[in-house]
């Protein structure tokens, strides 16, 4: 349609062909293209991903098909070993139990802490935020050592306090269930501040008008939480849970320092069991197979969580 409102045929211009400037080679033209420049600029990142992610992952897959001496292929025999090993299934169950319980607790505690902080006056908030972030800032290998001293089988300071109140010792690291609880406790202590800070950022981005509108409509506090806060935070919650699930599944240092997988292998996770089988027992291919086992589990979880995030983002746009 023409600017004056009359419809008239607008002459279609002939397809433009790049004019051949004299003295410009085809190589130079290629270099001047936007797509070429974009590609060249992403080459360093592609190289980093290829070298540090794709290659190690592909090599680990290849490694998991070799025999102990890495001289011949055994196909899927290392995976068959795991499927037939009672200990491996116990490790798989523990890894799931550990990761799911720890992530749920971290999310709940982080959510509660974020709300508490959000409702504090701005001046006091910064101080509390700093203090609550301390567990997340200390290297876990170091802080776990502190926890180990508190759980020490013979000289536990926690037991000492429990004894003061007349209760008997708790075998924190000596009994399978107590050891599992101890490992989860330390992981939650370390990881909850991460959830707290993410949720706090999400809470601050929820427009105040929505709460005002809800208040005018007579919404109660819990209704505001379920119909305003949570839907607005859903994407952050999903991404944080996904990220934490991956990191918690792959946890190594807490179990290594606290229990070394004991008692009776009841606190081993995929990573610690893979290290025991692969490095300490000199069977790298089998260790690679153990560590790769969690890949499909996490990939499926990541697919569904990210699909939900994308869908919600589209709905909001």
């Amino acid at each position: 349609m023409a600017p004056d409102g009359s419809a008239r045929a607008i002459a279609t211009p002939a397809p433009l062909r790049p004019a051949r400037s004299p003295g410009v080679s085809s190589l130079e033209r290629l270099a001047r293209r936007r797509s070429t420049i974009a590609f060249v600029m992403t080459v360093p990142l592609i190289l980093v991903i290829a070298g540090l992610v794709a290659w190690p992952a592909a090599y680990a897959m290849y490694l998991s098909t070799l025999n102990r001496r890495m001289t011949a292929s055994v196909g899927f025999d290392n995976y068959m070993f795991m499927i037939e090993s009672e200990t491996f299934w116990m490790v798989a169950w523990q890894s799931c139990f550990f990761a799911i319980t720890a992530v749920l607790l971290k999310a709940l505690i982080g959510f509660w802490l974020a709300h508490m902080l959000h409702n504090l006056p701005v001046r006091g908030q910064r101080k509390w935020r700093g203090m609550l972030l301390v567990p997340w800032v200390i290297p876990p290998a170091l802080s776990t050592l502190g926890w180990w001293w508190m759980f020490d089988p013979s000289y536990s300071s926690i037991n000492w306090i429990i004894n003061v109140f007349g209760f008997p010792d708790v075998p924190w690291l000596g009994h399978p269930w107590w050891a599992r609880i101890a490992v989860i406790m330390v992981n939650v202590w370390y990881g909850a501040p991460f959830f707290m800070i993410m949720y706090l950022a999400a809470l601050k981005s929820v427009p105040e008008q929505l709460y005002e509108a809800a208040a005018i409509d007579g919404a109660t506090s819990s209704q505001k939480l379920f119909y305003v806060t949570l839907p607005m935070m859903q994407n952050i919650i999903s991404i944080t849970v996904l990220f934490s699930l991956i990191v918690t599944f792959a946890n190594y240092d807490i179990v290594r320092v606290l229990t070394n997988g004991g008692p009776r292998d009841t606190t081993h996770l995929f990573a610690t069991y893979a290290a025991q089988v692969g490095i300490l027992s000199g069977h790298l291919p089998r260790g690679a197979a153990v560590s790769l086992f969690m890949l499909p589990v996490l990939a499926v979880a990541a697919f569904f969580i990210l699909r939900g995030v994308t869908r919600r983002t589209r709905e909001m746009m």
Binding site: S85, G174, T259
Partner: protein
């Protein structure tokens, strides 16, 4: 006018001086080391322990004109084991590396055979202790040299006063700091041990016997099994759990013994038993003299009441836990001849004596003929505390490694998973029947044998 006359004598002097000056750089180059040898040794627990190796390597390096570069790699956090795995994968790193117990066998394909070195050393000093030979030989070839530095044994380490008071045993009389067995030594067996364990438990100083999957736990249980003739794997790596009366006897004995140990032994690491005897909470542990050495250093109460003596014997003999280190040469090393020469030098009697003496008797040489160093006679208080730490002929004992004589690649998996302590824990702590626990152990062992 003076004439410039160059006499024949002046010319000769000048020529000689010129030649000497010209040759000077050559002399310097000749005097410098031409080879660089990179060694990664185990970082010793005993602070002075690294000093002996440093001095010995410097002495050998200056004599052979080799620049010996030393790195001491800690075993804390398995850093040395990760280093070995990384260097084997990248085929680069040190020329010589210290290998823990099971590693020479795991990396045998990448290690230079040292039959020539071991042949000369054995000809000079006699046989190597049996457990070291089992671990360092692969297909009849020596793939590593059993090291002095870092190699330890774990005999009984008891409190003289507590054992005398509560169990009526005078361990210093039984096993004096002399080349003879005292009264009662002949009956120092697992039955006597059980009676003493019960008495000490009742007195509130139970024996500190760890039962987790750390090496102190697996080692002593492995030796107890061996002294009962209770093997879980045969020489081909096949499980020998089913219908094995010796294994059954050992398991039944262990279940009885577990009633008299602290309730938290299932979570003990390698330091927990040390702390138990140092704190006066246990009358006996199985350990190298490091527990005593630390107690002496920190002047802890009762350190002068500690005494090292052999393990109890069983129906099949007396066995002492042996946890060695090995020195291996990577086959990608460019200085294999120099590396072999250095290892031979470090294994000689004088060098071994220096390493053992510097570590207050902790390091055990692999050659049985070297078990007479002066340091074991003189260390104290009490003087002679470590006299019976190395094997002596009157001990009638052998060194042993848990899950031997199975092929090391299978045995190491059972060792690292603590299959022997896990078996007992399932019964004594987990409430399983002996048959259920043995069936579990058999299934695990069968899985280890694959691949």
């Amino acid at each position: 006018m003076a004439r410039d006359v160059v006499s024949r004598r002046t010319l000769l002097k000048a020529s000689a001086a010129g030649s000497a000056a010209a040759a000077l750089p050559l002399v310097n180059v000749h005097g410098q080391p031409r080879t660089t040898l990179r060694c990664g040794f185990w970082d010793h627990w005993v602070p002075a322990g690294n000093g002996a190796l440093r001095e010995l390597c410097a002495e050998w390096g200056s004599r052979e004109r080799v620049d010996v570069q030393l790195d001491f790699i800690t075993s804390a956090g398995k850093q040395n084991e990760l280093t070995i795995a990384a260097q084997a994968q990248s085929r680069s790193g040190h020329d010589i590396l210290s290998f823990p117990t099971w590693f020479p066998s795991a990396y045998a394909d990448q290690l230079v055979p040292v039959d020539d070195v071991m042949g000369r050393l054995i000809a000079k000093y006699g046989p190597v202790t049996s457990a070291a030979e089992y671990l360092a030989k692969r297909d009849g070839r020596w793939v590593a040299v059993p090291a002095v530095s870092g190699t330890q044994m774990k005999p009984s380490l008891g409190r003289i006063d507590l054992l005398k008071q509560h169990a009526g045993i005078d361990v210093r009389e039984m096993w004096p700091a002399e080349d003879r067995a005292g009264p009662g030594a002949a009956t120092w067996n697992w039955d006597a041990f059980l009676v003493a364990a019960e008495k000490c438990h009742a007195a509130g100083v139970p024996f500190g016997l760890p039962m987790s999957n750390f090496s102190d736990s697996v080692d002593w249980v492995g030796c107890l099994f061996e002294s009962f003739g209770a093997r879980m794997l045969d020489e081909d790596g096949k499980p020998t759990v089913r219908n094995n009366p010796k294994l059954l006897a050992a398991v039944e004995y262990m279940v009885k013994l577990m009633k008299f140990v602290p309730s938290d032994v299932w979570a003990w690491d390698d330091a927990a038993n040390n702390r138990a005897i140092q704190g006066g909470r246990s009358a006996l542990i199985f350990n190298p003299p490091s527990a005593w050495a630390v107690a002496r250093r920190d002047n802890m109460a009762g350190h002068d009441q500690q005494w090292t003596f052999p393990m109890p014997s069983g129906p099949e003999g007396r066995f002492v836990p042996y946890l060695p280190y090995f020195w291996g040469i990577w086959n990608f090393s460019r200085n294999q001849t120099a590396a072999k020469n250095l290892l031979e030098f470090l294994s000689e009697r004088e060098s071994a004596d220096k390493q053992t003496s510097t570590s207050a008797g902790y390091d055990i040489p692999p050659f049985l003929s070297m078990n007479d160093f002066n340091v074991w006679k003189t260390e104290g208080p009490p003087v002679g505390v470590v006299y019976n730490y190395p094997l002596k002929p009157h001990h009638n004992a052998k060194t042993a490694v848990a899950f031997a004589p199975a092929p090391p690649e299978i045995a190491v998996q059972a060792y690292n998973q603590g299959l022997n302590t896990g078996l007992i824990a399932r019964i004594a702590q987990g409430g399983q029947t002996i048959d259920q626990a043995l069936a579990w152990a058999e299934r695990e062992l069968r899985a280890f044998a694959r691949g």
